[in-house]
Amino acid sequence: MPLSRILRNILLTIATLVAGGAHAQAPDAAPDVLVRDLTTTVLETIKADKSFAAGDVSKVQKLVDEKVLPYVDFQKMTQLAVGRGWRNASPEQRAALTREFRTLLVRTYSGALSQVKDHQVQMRPYRAQATDTDVLVRTSVVPSRGEPIQLDYRLEKQNSAWKIYDVNVLGVWLVENYKTQFAGEISAGGVDGLIKSLTERNRALDSSKKA
């Protein structure tokens, strides 16, 4: 009896993993379709579950981890934001930079997502050649009250899968907005100084969340 139950659970788990994996791959989906599906899924999930509106941060974080992160290239994002400093960074430093920047972004953007209520995504005109490997997808997020929010994405094609590497909110590109800050930290304390600042910020956010 217990054995068959265990077997069944294992099978179920495998089936879920395969189904989930197949969904996550969505091979060769056009970048605008990918962005539309991704945003719609996230917005629908938030709308369907009241605990998001109640500010359940861990839940938002889980949603971001599962639905968004597979389509984001954090290493490229970090590399572009770090700029010149990236060249002289060791592989360990690069990994640390990417890890800490990713933690910071996921944390802050999860916070922003928890304020989303009844929003809908609207695609804006998209034009790119089939041969393009670096494209801009433009959207508006329309809240139930107030003005539409411009939300654009840059995606790069990597081994036939598209990955987001920059986001634009209301005309402000995320990578661009970190460049000067990162350069400032690096000129003051080197790459390790930047890693330290990011790590400390993440730790501070961690403890303030728990408190």
Binding site: Q79, Q129, E176
Partner: protein
């Protein structure tokens, strides 16, 4: 919170009078070397003053205001937006966008009448979109550069170009200015500032958490946002000079960039003038 705010306020007030530039704000060693921000030392002190002013006065008032019913706050937001209608229409006309200007005029009349002095926004339901235009953007479309970044006391981030718009031109395009009763005029002005601050409250936490250096986060965000607005949301991509020396930086090929403008706000803006040329845009040289 408030004691810190007050301390900063007093401290920086004194510095501002002297315009010494070395005061209460912590200055990074390379302050002033950014070509977009030659007055960074003074700007950072003004920013510290603004932060103090915000913590001591503006934010607490905005937090009280935010407790008002949502419907009432929406009414105020709409009405204040409506007050800017004539300015938006005039600026769209000055930027060579007659269709948008006409739509803005229509919006203004519909919302002022049917929308009860702008409290409601029926024009949006009739398909007339909200535009945000001001004289700083018009100057940008005409080809003027932003010039050095300026942190204005109380009003916040700006540039020489945008400050000319805000301080020298916009007041005359604003209906508030033509209210003859000073008590009413300044009450409305005060309420507008508080309303605007209240709308930014949800962003406070995001900025405080996401920014490593709040001053440069706000400055860079402001400059990017304004550049985007000048191009009505579709600025040409800025060349990234790091790419040349960075073989694995990825973006070698220029991406597919919609050259002209088909935004919902529709616009002839982008094809108007080479507003801010990438060659001369000071913000390009920095990185």
């Amino acid at each position: 919170m408030i004691p810190t705010g007050l301390r900063r306020l007093l401290c920086t007030g004194a510095v501002l009078v002297a315009l010494g530039g070395s005061g209460c704000a912590t200055l990074p060693p390379n302050a002033g070397q950014d070509p977009r921000d030659p007055w960074e030392k003074v700007n950072r002190n003004v920013f510290a003053f603004n932060e103090g002013f915000d913590a001591a006065l503006l934010k607490p008032v905005a937090e009280l205001y935010a407790k008002l019913p949502e419907g009432l706050r929406d009414c105020f937001s709409n009405a204040f937006f409506n007050l800017r209608g004539p300015s938006t229409a005039i600026n769209n006309a000055l930027q060579g966008k007659p269709t948008e200007a006409a739509s803005d005029v229509g919006r203004f009349f519909i919302n002022t009448t049917v929308g009860l002095a702008g409290c409601f926004d029926p024009a949006s339901e009739f398909g007339l979109e909200r535009h945000r235009e001001d004289f700083g953007q018009t100057l940008g479309v005409w080809g003027f550069e932003p010039g050095p970044f300026v942190m204005l006391p109380v009003l916040g981030p700006s540039s020489v170009r945008d400050a000319v718009g805000i301080l020298a031109v916009e007041p005359f395009l604003d209906l508030n200015f033509y209210i003859d009763l000073p008590a009413v005029e300044y009450s409305i002005l005060g309420l507008r500032i508080v309303n605007e601050r209240a709308e930014l409250l949800p962003a406070d936490r995001l900025i405080n958490e996401a920014a490593l250096d709040k001053y440069s986060f706000i400055r860079d965000g402001y400059l990017q946002r304004r550049r985007s607005l000048v191009y009505d949301g579709n600025p040409p991509r800025e060349p990234d000079e790091d790419d040349e020396t960075e073989p694995d930086a990825g973006t070698k090929k220029p991406p597919a960039e919609p050259a002209e403008d088909l935004t919902p706000s529709g616009a002839a803006g982008a094809e108007m003038t080479p507003a801010v040329s990438p060659m001369t845009d000071p913000s390009v040289k920095l990185h």
